[in-house]
């Protein structure tokens, strides 16, 4: 048995999901911030700052879902029915916000409904992504290799809290992106709102860090047993220090550091989640070894991925690079 193949694939899919959360996180975040300004030109600028990227960003969501099907078909076949309503709800919300990128301009000057669709679709999508995460963390009912629970098992106070946390987190990514990429009133909006969002995100991370061990024994065991607790305490500590750093960077008017620091916070939070759930893909029943695809399938896809993923990362970086710099009204892109 090629025991290492599922590990490699779990790592790759985990990376794809992390990249998705950060990249689509900031462009969903821009839309979540739409209601905080009424000025048309501010909204134009906010949308323009992500318009060339959102499509590529969202492709990581397809790789995450598609990759799960390729490498862990059994997990895919259990998780999707278990989270049926939030998954389809999220996709429908993404429909609204995806078409808004084009529809909003074509419908000008009567674009208000597409402003609402853009912000509303993004808020709902972010919230449901949090619900999906929360639903997965708290565990899925499995019998005979199939989902055996009810249609609303995912709906708990915990998952709703995670949903709200994700909305706040994406909004923080969006706000710090605006600080980095824009000037004028839009940048001011980002600077004004980012500290509040940072507070909300810190609170959310603290609450989730305490809530999960309280409701799930295996996570408590993972974090608070010796020697784990000695090895793992740097994670919450770095999160606390980094939060303080982001706070100061926003205050001092740095351009890039608040966004970079927020990405760091996301990665630390993500590491915490991975440590809590590893090696379960369908907690608390199935590990990534239990649900892995046939080795022949994992190898076939891995061979291509080794060559193609660096290529994809390369031209993604290229596009971000050529559209780099401040975008401001009166300038367009540099």
């Amino acid at each position: 048995m090629e025991w290492y193949l599922p590990v490699i694939w779990a790592g790759l899919i985990g990376t794809a999901v992390a990249i998705y959360v950060i990249l689509d996180g900031f462009d969903l975040g821009i839309a979540i911030l739409f209601p905080f300004t009424r000025e048309e030109e501010d909204r134009d600028l906010m949308m323009n700052s992500v318009a060339p990227f959102w499509d590529g960003n969202e492709t990581w969501l397809v790789l995450g879902g598609g990759g799960l099907w390729v490498a862990f078909p059994m997990a895919y076949a259990i998780i999707m029915p278990a989270l049926y309503l939030p998954v389809l709800g999220m996709l429908l919300a993404l429909v609204f916000r995806g078409v808004s990128f084009e529809f909003r301009w074509v419908s000008k000057p009567r674009h208000r409904k597409w402003d609402i669709a853009f912000a509303g679709g993004s808020i709902v999508a972010a919230f449901l992504q949090g619900i999906i995460l929360g639903g997965l963390l708290q565990g899925i009912d499995v019998a005979d290799g199939q989902f055996a629970g009810g249609p609303f098992d995912w709906l708990t106070p915990f998952s709703i809290f995670v949903g709200l946390s994700v909305v706040a987190g994406y909004a923080l990514l969006g706000a710090t992106w605006l600080i980095m990429r824009t000037t004028g009133p839009v940048r001011e909006l980002g600077r004004r709102i980012a500290p509040w969002l940072l507070l909300a995100v810190m609170a959310a991370m603290a609450v989730i860090s305490l809530w999960t061990p309280l409701i799930i024994d295996r996570i408590a065991e993972r974090w608070f047993s010796v020697p784990n607790i000695l090895l793992l305490w740097p994670i919450p500590l770095s999160a606390a220090l980094l939060s303080y750093g982001v706070w100061r960077w926003i205050e001092r008017g740095h351009n890039v550091l608040p966004f970079a620091g927020t990405i760091g916070l996301f990665l630390l939070g993500y590491a915490g989640l991975v440590i809590s759930t590893m090696p379960y893909l369908v907690p608390p029943h199935l590990t990534f070894w239990d649900t892995a695809a046939a080795p022949a399938s994992q190898i076939f896809f891995l061979v291509g991925t080794v060559f193609l993923l660096p290529l994809v990362l390369g031209y993604t970086a290229f596009v971000y690079w050529i559209f780099r710099g401040k975008i401001a009204p009166g300038e367009g892109y540099h």
């Binding site: 048309e40 030109e41 318009a51 060339p52 499509d55 590529g56 492709t59 397809v62 790789l63 879902g65 598609g66 990759g67 099907w69 390729v70 078909p73 895919y76 076949a77 259990i78 999707m80 049926y84 389809l88 709800g89 429908l92 429909v95 609204f96 995806g98 078409v99 084009e102 529809f103 301009w105 074509v106 419908s107 000008k108 199939q146 989902f147 249609p151 000037t183 004028g184 009133p185 940048r187 351009n255 695809a293 046939a294 022949a296 399938s297 076939f300 896809f301 291509g304 193609l308 994809v312 031209y315 596009v319 050529i322 559209f323 401040k326 401001a328 009204p329 009166g330 367009g332 892109y333």
Partner: protein, 478 residues
């Protein structure tokens, strides 16, 4: 109230896939058209090519957005609604979908950013290269999707243990028996569909006396494409039919509403298939022709529906009528190609008003033919989900019918709004038309939202460059 999850999941998938397929079909053709226009512009420095490419890029942007969002839905629907199928086939067709993402989706999505927003900002060659890469990406995407879909029709290169399919030979999985025909038929359909739209738009402008120079380019390119592609599609379709007869004979019997092998293999021009009576009412048929088409031999016979167990029959009437709609549209397009080619040869392509008027109604034909063809091939596979290996009823998720009904209602409602609005906006862009004059200073101008579609609207709404005047937003930072 009881809901049947199988029927509902089928309706939901059919609905979302039908909505989705028309956009990729259009954008595969349109991206190739735009890439060719830009290459011609690079080669000749003719400004008209550039402006025409720019105009179609706006329409492409709106269509592509609708294709993307509806496609992401499909990629997850395999898991939400067809989880048993996902588990059964994941080892075999999962990697094909994975390769589609890695080789096509990223390519399209990433370079689309440059193709839409790079005008006047990056070198011309980079925009042109991006358009070419997007066009290649859409075709690669079709390659993988059709490989996966063809495997569901003519599975090969696998073995099944304990209810799960395992790959044995990847080349056989990808290049399964019906794949080459299906890919050629679909790609050609996409190019034809787009050509029909371009033809209709060019003809409308000419009839209205607008955008003459650019309309002539559109008309020539579209007529050239249709004159070659439409007859080619007939040949490819015929070969595909022979292949289907070999691998899915019950589908062919349903396409022809052919009940008994002994029925002298007539070609039914019209009839009302009746599954209970096992015959066609009001039938008008040409004796022997069906056998000739399908076996390439006068008087050749092929299996009738009665030779298959009744629980393996596809829904006969749907497949029968959809097939005739597809063929009828194919013949109309062949006629338009021949007629247009003749007029072009005589030098009267641009002033034969009868032809232009006929051409101006051609735009929906390709879409209807694609949807009809989709019904023939997908409903024709029923009751199988993977032909001979898994029945549709066994592939569905363990999800309550009420959940599927709820999401189906949402899909119908939301897609209804989004789809009709998108078509409305595309029509608005077409009415606006391409720019007549040379690009003016405001093309690269400040305050301009970077949407490909925006520029055209601004003229119509009488506003200046979007964004009200006034507020000074200086304070540039490094």
């Amino acid at each position: 109230m009881e809901f049947d999850p199988v029927i509902l999941a089928r309706i939901q998938f059919a609905f979302t896939v039908s909505f989705h397929i028309i956009f990729p079909a259009f954008t595969i053709g349109l991206s190739a058209f735009i890439a060719v226009l830009l290459l011609m512009w690079m080669a000749t420095s003719e400004e008209r090519y550039r402006r025409l490419a720019r105009f179609w890029t706006k329409i492409f942007a709106v269509s592509f957005a609708m294709g993307v969002v509806s496609g992401i839905v499909l990629s997850y629907q395999f898991g939400t609604n067809w989880s048993r199928f996902s588990q059964f086939s994941g080892n075999v067709i999962g990697p094909l979908i994975g390769y589609e993402v890695l080789t096509a989706f990223y390519l399209e999505a990433t370079f689309l950013g440059i193709m839409l927003f790079g005008w006047n900002r990056f070198p011309d060659w980079l925009v042109t290269l991006s358009a070419v890469l997007v066009a290649i990406g859409t075709a690669i995407s079709a390659f993988w999707i059709l490989a996966a879909n063809s495997w569901m029709h003519t599975p090969a290169g696998h073995e099944v243990h304990d209810g799960i399919a395992y790959p044995l030979n990847w080349l056989q999985v990808i290049f399964n028996p019906s794949f080459p025909y299906r890919l050629a038929h679909m790609l050609n359909a996409a190019y034809l569909t787009t050509a029909a739209v371009v033809l209709a738009v060019g003809a409308r402008y000419l009839l209205a006396g607008r955008h003459i120079g650019q309309s002539r380019i559109m008309l020539r390119m579209a007529v050239g494409m249709i004159a070659v592609s439409a007859p080619l599609q007939l040949i490819v379709g015929d070969l595909h039919g022979l292949n289907t007869l070999e691998h899915q004979p019950a589908k062919v019997a349903a396409m022809e509403a052919h009940w008994r092998e002994a029925d002298d293999s007539a070609f039914v021009l019209f009839g009302l298939p009746d599954e209970e009576a096992r015959e066609n009412h009001f039938e008008i048929a040409i004796p022997g022709l069906g056998g000739l088409i399908l076996t390439h031999e006068w008087g050749g016979t092929y299996a009738g529906l009665e030779q298959f167990p009744e629980d393996e029959w596809p829904p006969v009437a749907n497949v029968f009528f959809a097939f005739r709609i597809m063929i009828g549209i194919g013949l109309i397009l062949i006629a338009m190609g021949v007629w247009g080619g003749y007029l072009w040869w005589r030098g009267r392509l641009f002033d034969n008003r009868l032809y232009l008027r006929a051409a101006s109604y051609m735009w929906p034909l390709g879409f209807i033919a694609i949807l009809a063809g989709w019904i023939v091939t997908e409903q024709g596979r029923q009751p199988w989900l993977v032909h001979g290996l898994m029945r549709t009823a066994d592939g569905v998720s363990p999800v309550p019918g009420a959940s599927v009904a709820t999401t189906l209602a949402l899909f119908v409602f939301i897609y209804g709004i989004v789809f009709s609005t998108g078509v409305f906006y595309i029509n608005r862009l077409i009415n606006r038309g391409p720019k007549e004059e040379a690009p003016t200073a405001h093309e690269g101008m400040p305050n301009r939202p970077i949407s490909a579609a925006e520029e055209a609207t601004r003229d119509a709404t009488g506003r200046g460059p979007a964004g009200a005047p006034g507020r000074s937003l200086g304070n540039r930072e490094g």
